[in-house]
């Protein structure tokens, strides 16, 4: 809309809407601006903080990579093939968004814990989940994979099936059709889903804290500083985390906007 013409309805709605916008923006802005840039810089130089932040970025990246490998094929199937139980599969993919994340952590512990069957199998391979990086990765994967799978599915659904059919008549095998037509056309949606998933993984606390309090990811470190030392110590770490997420989010908005224009 280019001109917001004022009538009572739009004035009232603007006022009500603005309350909500400010409710989000003010605390974020206040946290970021509360500490001076030099204090933020010092915080970033703190090896414990730096370690936690890079661990968070890394673990979430690995989780996103795993989701890409299995989730993109799943998304393609969901977009293109009708199979019995499809609704159930779609439901399962959405469930992690609605369960409490601490409950998700407990559920993962039941499977990946040291005494649990899968935990024992992986234990033989030397892979430990509890209080270890793989535990952080599966916790992040569990709670954020819905974002990637759903975005990729929507991306594939937006590709006209006739483009794939034409590709087949031109001599492309199903495999070549996927890589030359479907994937490039859904790529922006997949990328924005991956960024969304990665950002969601970064911010995960509940599931991670149950599987792996140590090594500490940034949200856990933040919680620990708040509990042990109080607001003043937690605040610069919070500011850093918020800044990182804001940048990710800006990139995300950039890619989705471009993809909308490309269509």
């Amino acid at each position: 809309m280019s001109v917001l013409f004022a009538n009572r309805l739009t004035v009232l709605f603007s006022a009500l809407g603005m309350l909500l916008v400010l409710f989000v923006a003010v605390p974020l802005a206040r946290t970021i601006t509360a500490s001076s840039p030099s204090l933020l810089w010092q915080t970033l130089l703190d090896p414990e903080v730096r370690g936690a932040i890079s661990l968070t970025l890394y673990a979430s990246f690995i989780a996103t990579l795993l989701a890409l490998i299995c989730g993109v094929p799943l998304a393609y199937l969901l977009a293109r093939v009708d199979f019995p139980g499809k609704g159930v599969v779609e439901g399962i993919i959405d469930v992690p968004v609605v369960v409490p994340h601490s409950a998700a952590g407990i559920a993962l512990l039941m499977v990946f814990g040291r005494q649990a069957p899968l935990g024992q199998v992986f234990g033989l391979l030397g892979l430990r989940f509890v209080s270890a990086v793989p535990g952080i990765v599966v916790a992040m994967l569990f709670v954020s994979l819905s974002f990637l799978v759903n975005a990729a599915r929507e991306g594939f659904e937006a590709v006209d099936p006739r483009l794939e059919r034409v590709a087949r008549t031109l001599g492309a095998s199903p495999w070549e059709t996927f890589w030359r037509v479907s994937f490039p056309l859904a790529w922006r949606s997949i990328l924005s889903g991956a960024l969304m998933m990665w950002a969601r993984g970064l911010s995960e606390f509940g599931a991670v804290v149950i599987l792996a309090y140590h090594p500490m990811v940034a949200p856990v470190l933040l919680y620990e500083r708040f509990e042990s030392f109080g607001l003043a110590y937690a605040q610069p770490v919070a500011a850093l985390m918020i800044l990182i997420c804001l940048v990710t989010f800006a990139v995300l908005r950039g890619t989705t906007r471009k993809s909308r224009r490309a269509r």
Partner: protein, 362 residues
């Protein structure tokens, strides 16, 4: 026989194919004509290998391809709304099938160059599909399908999404391409005039079945069934040649009748061989010659009267005393009261008249 389809059955949601038989000769331009929902697109997609039939056989050049995947059939396909790859340039779209054939870069660009010049889209090569007009996009889609030198070209309503001016241009382009390349072509449409203008033979399709196959003239002169007759609309369709007339008019001399009495005045700026149609309701029937501004007036004889409820279709042979081979039949639609008023009977001599502007040339 280039393509032979035997007893083809398919169920796909709301669409069905029921016992389709087709035999298409090499180089033939074959049109499948039918209303929306008849299963025409599904038939084409099945020929291309995009659906597998429940029963039946498809063979191309004597080889049974029923179970071949699409990529092994070498059948070109053009959709109504072009289906160009939006992430590729025009050039890359045309080259797509050639890349998959692992042709060398030089050979690909030569082939793209040649086919794009033939279709007059050479200047569009660097463009993205989203910047093309409908007519341009459809030429690109044609070029992409022809680039792989298909043994069969399938066109699914290729002209239906275009505006009338562009449609006529592209239709003539299709005629020219077919003449030059001789690609065996199956063209699906719901537009009767398009079918008549392009087809060597027409298959009329209804509810998943082929209900009549034959040359265009035969379909509209001798519809096999009530349904076909209704679908082709009991129209007056003629083939003839336009010759210079007087003033704004051209003379249409009908094929096989060099008689001055059956030349029609037509409002057009075209010349040469054309098809022409006149809607039955635009022809006025009378017992005496009418004094009116209508440019075309002929004496004829009633050869048949067909009662269709609200309208009566009266077929009048011009000139009156010849056999069909040397005459032209016009079908006029009249109302029941005028039928009774004139007391029309088969064999009566009557006059028919219509305006020059009632003759539609295509």
């Amino acid at each position: 026989m280039s393509l032979r389809v035997t007893d083809l059955w398919l169920d796909l949601g709301a669409f069905h194919l029921r016992g389709i038989h087709l035999e298409i000769a090499p180089g033939e331009y074959f049109v499948i004509l039918g209303p929306t929902g008849a299963g025409k697109t599904v038939l084409l997609e099945t020929l291309a290998g995009l659906h597998f039939p429940r029963r039946g056989q498809i063979s191309l050049h004597g080889e049974d391809i029923t179970r071949f995947p699409p990529e092994r059939r070498s059948i070109g396909f053009v959709y109504q709304d072009y289906a160009l790859f939006p992430h590729l340039s025009v050039e890359e779209n045309i080259a797509f099938g050639l890349w998959l054939r692992r042709m060398g870069r030089k050979a690909v660009s030569e082939r793209v160059e040649a086919i794009s010049r033939r279709l007059s889209i050479h200047h569009l090569l660097p463009r993205k599909p989203e910047t093309l007009s409908g007519g341009e996009a459809q030429r690109v889609a044609l070029a992409r399908a022809l680039a792989i030198e298909p043994s069969l070209l399938l066109l699914d309503e290729p002209l239906s999404a275009l505006d009338p001016g562009t449609r006529e241009g592209l239709q003539q382009e299709l005629v020219r391409l077919h003449r030059e390349l001789g690609t065996t072509t199956i063209h699906v449409t719901h537009d009767f005039e398009e079918a008549v203008a392009l087809a060597d033979r027409i298959a009329v399709m209804h509810q998943g079945q082929i209900v009549q196959i034959g040359p265009p003239e035969e379909i509209f002169r001798k519809p096999d069934s009530e349904w076909v007759a209704r679908f082709v609309g009991m129209r007056n369709i003629f083939r003839g040649e336009l010759r210079p007339g007087d003033g704004n008019y051209q003379w249409l001399v009908l094929e096989g009748t060099e008689q001055p009495e059956v030349r029609m005045a037509v409002l057009t700026d075209r010349f040469g061989p054309v098809h022409a149609s006149i809607r039955p309701e635009d022809i006025v029937l009378s017992q005496e010659p009418l004094r009116s501004s209508m440019r075309n007036s002929f004496r004829g004889r009633v050869v048949s009267i067909l009662d269709r409820g609200t309208l009566i279709y009266v077929t009048v042979r011009v000139p009156p005393d010849r056999t069909l081979l040397k005459a032209t039949d016009f079908t006029c639609a009249i109302t029941r009261p005028s039928l009774e008023e004139m007391n029309l009977k088969e064999g009566m001599e009557v006059w028919i008249a219509f305006k020059a502007s009632a003759v539609h040339v295509f």
